[in-house]
Symmetry: D2
Subunit: 366 residues, 4 copies
């Protein structure tokens, strides 16, 4: 079982290699009657597209998405939607050196150990290019959510690059679209630009933290106990290339809280329960509370770097490697739209699951 599908009712299967003819996503389970066109999806792909500034890989791909099925006269039909992105800039000569050598910190050694097949063309299936397909599928999910849950909004942004974190006091959500890091802290953006410039010149890379929030998710969405909303979000984010940690609400810092501190106290507002705080990240027992759903994940630094590292070859000889290809000094930047896409897919999936099993929100308060 090679598991290239995620989702319970809204099911996305991505396919394609970094340097094959094309890649894409097969999206099954989208409700019928949702307005969708290629331009809507392209908007999100353009956000993720490489080569837009000096902080992302200089590979230039138009990443033009085509809808091959499942949409008729501008609406989804309820049948599978095939989204294809052709690969155009396949400069595979850049990868000559890694045909025999494994990059430390990269999946090419484990893919070899698992499959016994070495697709050395730019990482093959393990390349971050796979995430383009997720972003396209996420565009479908957003369109469906807009149709089903009016007022929902999903927003991702960077909160940390290497050791440099944003200052929550400086957060201004309107800043997110104003800088190449999609960060709500304009001052941090300037610092990061200088820091990454330096790093890139030295042939190094660095990790990052991305936060994604979903606003307007109704209370009662989620499926305990193994398809919890946070369980599925953790899986979705951890499945993104290079992600090593996932947090909901206060995340790892929850360990330091006492029960008194952690209890988000409840009062009664005009539209239902209100909470004094959101340590829970909008999820209790795997089910949404109606607050903002808050997820955070850490992306490790790219392993493809210009600094020499010790490694071995396929035949087991010890050697050294320098990766000369076009790579991102901070791959976390492009993970922002990917995290948003995964959030959209998971939330839509749970909205559909809830509707299927429960029918409508049953437990009224007040």
């Amino acid at each position: 079982m090679s598991i290239n599908t995620f989702g319970h009712l809204f099911r996305v299967t991505t396919w394609g290699e970094s340097h094959g003819p094309a890649l894409g996503a097969t999206v099954d389970g989208c409700p019928p009657g949702v307005p969708v066109d290629e331009a809507m999806l392209q908007h999100w792909l353009d956000k993720r597209k490489p080569g837009q500034n000096k902080f992302t890989t200089q590979r230039r791909e138009p990443d033009q998405v085509k809808i091959l099925s499942g949409v008729f006269e501008g609406q989804t039909t309820g049948t599978p939607i095939q989204l294809m992105i052709e690969n155009t800039d396949q400069r595979s000569k850049d990868y000559g050196d890694i045909v025999e050598k494994f990059r430390p910190g990269h999946a090419d050694i484990t893919y070899w150990q698992k499959y016994g097949i070495r697709d050395y063309r730019g990482g093959g299936r393990s390349s971050a290019r796979e995430t383009a397909a997720r972003v396209a599928a996420g565009g479908i999910a957003r369109a469906a959510l807009n149709a089903l849950v009016p007022g929902i909004a999903i927003t991702g942004y960077m909160t940390q690059v290497g050791p440099h974190k944003i200052d929550r006091a400086r957060v201004d959500m309107d800043q997110i679209e104003q800088n190449p890091f999609w960060t709500p802290d304009a001052t941090a953006a300037d610092e990061w630009a200088a820091y990454l410039d330096e790093l890139r010149k030295s042939g190094n890379s660095v990790g990052a933290v991305i936060e994604v929030i979903a606003q307007g998710v109704p209370a009662g969405i989620g499926a305990p106990v193994y398809g919890k909303l946070d369980t599925d979000l953790a899986a979705a984010m951890m499945s993104i290339n290079a992600v090593k940690g996932v947090e909901i609400g206060d995340g790892m810092a929850s360990a330091e809280l006492t029960g008194v501190e952690n209890a988000d106290e409840i009062s009664m507002g005009p539209n239902g329960p209100e909470y004094s705080s959101n340590h829970a990240g909008g999820i209790l027992g795997g089910i949404s509370t109606g607050q903002d759903v808050v997820v955070r994940f850490a992306v490790k630094p790219t392993s493809s770097i210009l600094t020499t590292r010790k490694t071995i070859t396929k035949s087991g000889e010890e050697t050294e490697i320098v990766t000369k290809g076009r790579h991102d000094p901070c791959v976390g930047i492009r993970a922002v739209p990917v995290g948003e896409a995964m959030m959209a897919c998971v939330v839509l999936d749970h909205v559909l699951l809830h509707r299927g099993q429960v029918g409508e929100n049953r437990g009224k308060i007040g």
Copy 2:
């Protein structure tokens, strides 16, 4: 879809409420011919059992597991294994106050908002008692792993209680069984005991961090890109009650590493590749490297505390609540065997998946 099953080939469905007649796990997909008996499972359940010391809930449950099917003459038959644990200490009168009121930080408000059904008996399905079934199922997974992957070892331990972390320099794995916190740092154990005593007396609770490692997992196990080994571990751990963060290897701290630091350099040892470090936590591209698989998760403090918090009732009236039941000051302690059980289930599942799709480890090095 109420998703109470996890696993792809080794599938565990847990069932049962905290104060119903029984709870248990339906385990499907265990290979045939694995030696199993009730005593083997009981060993792990006893580790998790409440009421063993003053740091865990004083509810006393024998948690005696019965095998109702799938085992014949001491061996698994390849058919579903039904594991049942009868509830005996159901003092539901303790919960009288929470029939109408919601506990801040607890799932009872979201279960109500989702299902419109209020099973006020000790949390019903959202109770941590559900994890007893996981531990029983994990016992089956361990038995199967022992049969299939000789030399594999899965060990969980606490690394942090509230703000107090272990000192990695003091770690001695032989200490784990010597203290009530299953921690490899004896000094930390003493500090935590004093800290939790204080906390318990003040009617408060606190969070914790647990680390689980799997040693002896062969290289090449894992299923990219949405059933990655780390993806499934993230989901498994996040599905445990009260978990708010999951990390693989360096986890959230990966964000602060540079590519040079993060690259676990590779050399050639007598039995295959060896690594200079394990920032990756034994997983690259979702596939095992052959190093220790390292997972860490944070457990938030119990919401059932003796301190008064503001809340509302089912009918929407604002009020206050104090939870008088028998609860754990640090629910993280009992999460140690649960984390181990989830690790065992996930690793077994991926061993079976690999065997199904790939047949045997195909990519030889050297």
Copy 3:
């Protein structure tokens, strides 16, 4: 993967062996708020219960079902429902002869070839006793359907025993409860009684055909193209012990129809489309038309017979076997409530699926 679960959203996992301590069904995904109690389920189990007349096995099992979870104060909670039936009449001494020998036409040789484990106690997991768990789960499905789709009715009956078919002109649905064969043709019932008496005395058995109809299924239910309503019904019925053929509507006889004959012509009635005939069995393109959903399946004769047959032993020696246990001359009789249960589960599952993906019936006519 040992697949003991069926259903997409309404998921039933059966467990247990013929002569183990108990068997049952874990039912996940039932909507919350459905009125359920043990008596409701017992009604259907009593219909299937062995030993009720001389045409079914003389094994006497009370088949008393217990609800261990998922129901609180008379209503489903939306969490897993555990249904347990304890085995009481386990006369395994009857099976002494088959410990070493394989019964021709029975699964005990293939279970051995697959698993290398010989659970000789009455067929173990391959016994028709497994279907008791299905009937219990079907009781839950019926209750949920009654709550969600008012006016739905599911009815099974025998239409053929050996070479003797019912006469469709004599059909009177009120007769179904009046004879031991649940057949709507009273004359056929008399003939079958005489025929089976003879057969039983001669130590032989015979096959049968069962038809199950679902009335009141709304148009638009079904999920093309691999989870079609008829696809899932075919799987559900074929999964019943001893079933060798499944038909929808005209079934195999469709091969003999011309397109002109097969076209169920459509007119407009007061409540929507009406059809001149029902060759389609209420399903077009895998989706319900609103007509009666009609399924038929053939059950082969029991292989456990009192007539000597040639066979081999586990060690490969040629020998002969006579099965002396208590068995049904026509196992098809007890397949009637099982077929009904499977129909109820499949229809409920598709009602939930439709609600999840589509929300409500969208395409209005007229």
Copy 4:
């Protein structure tokens, strides 16, 4: 949930509409290292291709398959294989009349009732063109089976057209490739040709029966009790357009057999158990016996006929319809390679499942 995927470990998702830009199959879970190229797949597609003789639709599609991913240097990589077939002959003007009217016996009324979307272009997703994608995927399954199970052979052929059945005494498997009906009875082929000529001229169509056998399937393959080999075959065949009945071995005729007749007696041959007959169709208890696996299915006549039938419009007005498009007088002919493809997929899937759970055939006899 719109279920366009089948298979447990070898998972095939088909996508695409009859008159959209393309259709195809996303194949996940194929073992790595299987030799595959486009020509191998094209062989099977050419067999199914329309317009090859006067008995199939005159629509002319080259049905050229492209492999977009998952194959590298002539071998499968273990990652998803995307198979795309572009639609070239999209003469949608032929379908003008059915934009508003429903064809009796066709899925266009139920798709409308389910989704509220009318893709009138040649049946959209419900068109038999979807089966081209199955045939392509089946080519991958055949290639993998050849690599994993040497000596396996899968063969489909027609056994009945309308009322005309083959004579089993005249069967000569070498005839299958010699006539347009893929039938092993040359005399029947001549009769059918004359019969269908007549039928086509009269603007009518007729049903058929197809039989598919798999030779060389090892004993022990199958997954009781809901993923039985016969259960999955029943589902696979019933999911093919226009199929109304599925039989294993003796199928519906099993109802007429006595236990004495039905018992395939067992003796010991040089290579293991041998059977005196094959009433069981090579499957007992859902697990293969090592004999030929025999499946049969009935295809109803095409509903798109040149004879006038009564129907209604989307707005509920009563009217009449004649379908003028290019259609098959006996759609069953082209179902032969589709049935073979489904058999290949199901058998491969169960070979992988068995290998995953059981590892190797464990129960030796003799």
